[in-house]
């Protein structure tokens, strides 16, 4: 709640013509939006360019933002729509340039569980599995990839995803179910 109040204050200041307020919003949201765009494009250069365009568009449009939704939802909607439009134009002409998993992953609960001695997965296997997963992600449709990115990777609730995409929660759940099935099938092919 406090985050929303902070956003609304920053938005109001930006609308009043204070560029530094928008800079604060950029600093606050760029890591999160980077994760969203990057996991949809799988390319760092494309992500960087898109992120610049997303914030540029948001800055140009901030005067027209009336607060019907939160700034969080609004900026994520812009990011998802622009990324999907970009992916449609790009088609299959891309190469994956995935960022390395940072050192923080060693402390991640999922990482510890997956590489525990009780499981058959070693770290080397896990790295390979991650690469295969990334390739499988790129086989999903843009809409399904967006839902998986927001729900599974970024941990957004169904309701928030529904608002961002302008669809019902039922549609979000349906897309997630279908995307998970597809990813499992793609991963099975590697074994």
């Amino acid at each position: 709640m406090n985050e929303e109040v902070d956003d609304s204050v920053l938005v109001a200041r930006a609308q009043a013509g204070e560029p530094s307020a928008f800079d604060d919003l950029v600093v606050k949201y760029s890591p999160r939006l980077y994760g969203l765009v990057y996991n949809m494009t799988s390319n760092h250069e494309d992500t960087n360019d898109l992120l610049q365009d997303i914030f540029a568009k948001a800055y140009r449009s901030i005067a027209g933002f009336r607060g019907k939704s939160s700034f969080y939802t609004w900026i994520h909607s812009i990011a998802v729509n622009m990324t999907i439009n970009f992916l449609k134009k790009r088609g299959r002409r891309f190469h994956m340039s995935l960022d390395d998993i940072d050192a923080g992953v060693a402390n991640d609960k999922e990482f510890i569980e997956l590489t525990a001695k009780t499981t058959p997965v070693r770290e080397a296997d896990l790295a390979e599995l991650q690469q295969r997963l990334n390739e499988s992600m790129m086989k999903l449709s843009h809409d399904h990839r967006a839902v998986v990115t927001m729900f599974d990777i970024q941990g957004m609730p169904h309701s928030e995803i529904a608002k961002i995409l302008g669809i019902s929660e039922g549609t979000v759940r349906s897309r997630l179910f279908y995307a998970h099935r597809q990813l499992q099938n793609y991963l099975e092919e590697f074994h």
Binding site: D23, V26, N39, G64, V148, L187
Partner: protein, 209 residues
Amino acid sequence: MPHDDDTLSKLLRLKRHEQPPPEYFENFLREFQNRQRAEMLRRPVWRIALDRLEAFFGEFSTSQLSYATASAAVLLVAAVFTADMLQHPGGEGASGQFAQAVSHGTYEANPSLSAPFAHEPVVPFTASHVAPEDFFRNARLASQAAQSVSRAPAIQVASASGEPLTLTPKMQLKELFQDAPITRSGATHLHPRYVLDPRPVSYDAPISF
């Protein structure tokens, strides 16, 4: 390895750690500001307005179909106005109607233009010896009088001889002159009108090959 939903979710969650180096976000804002300044110099105003419009509609989570509907509505309104203009090429104003009437030799009724000229006296005239300025003044008054009577079949104006001259809304100009002796000798009755060429013929360059 079993790929159940739980394992898949864990694998996906690990992707949160795929991040650029920390200095990337430190430089991002500076790069954004530089690009923003550069863009301000080259981005057209209509593009900015379009972005704002998209953001405005996007805020209400409208579907893509809404843009198509709005565009269709704008095109429909434009088509209606265009069709209306094609049907009335002279425009709705008094000058347009008068010009149209003179060019076609007819007078069209328009009651909305009558009131301002109702007090002006009609100068008696006959087509045979009227001065040009009086003729056009009377023609204008006759036109406006005709316009003042909505759907009037005909109106009468005074002539010099006292005979009433009947004007109908669709009257041809030539009918006004049908009794007038407009011949070469008739020029004695009409004030001569000379049109001087703005450039003498002698100034024309001779044709040479």
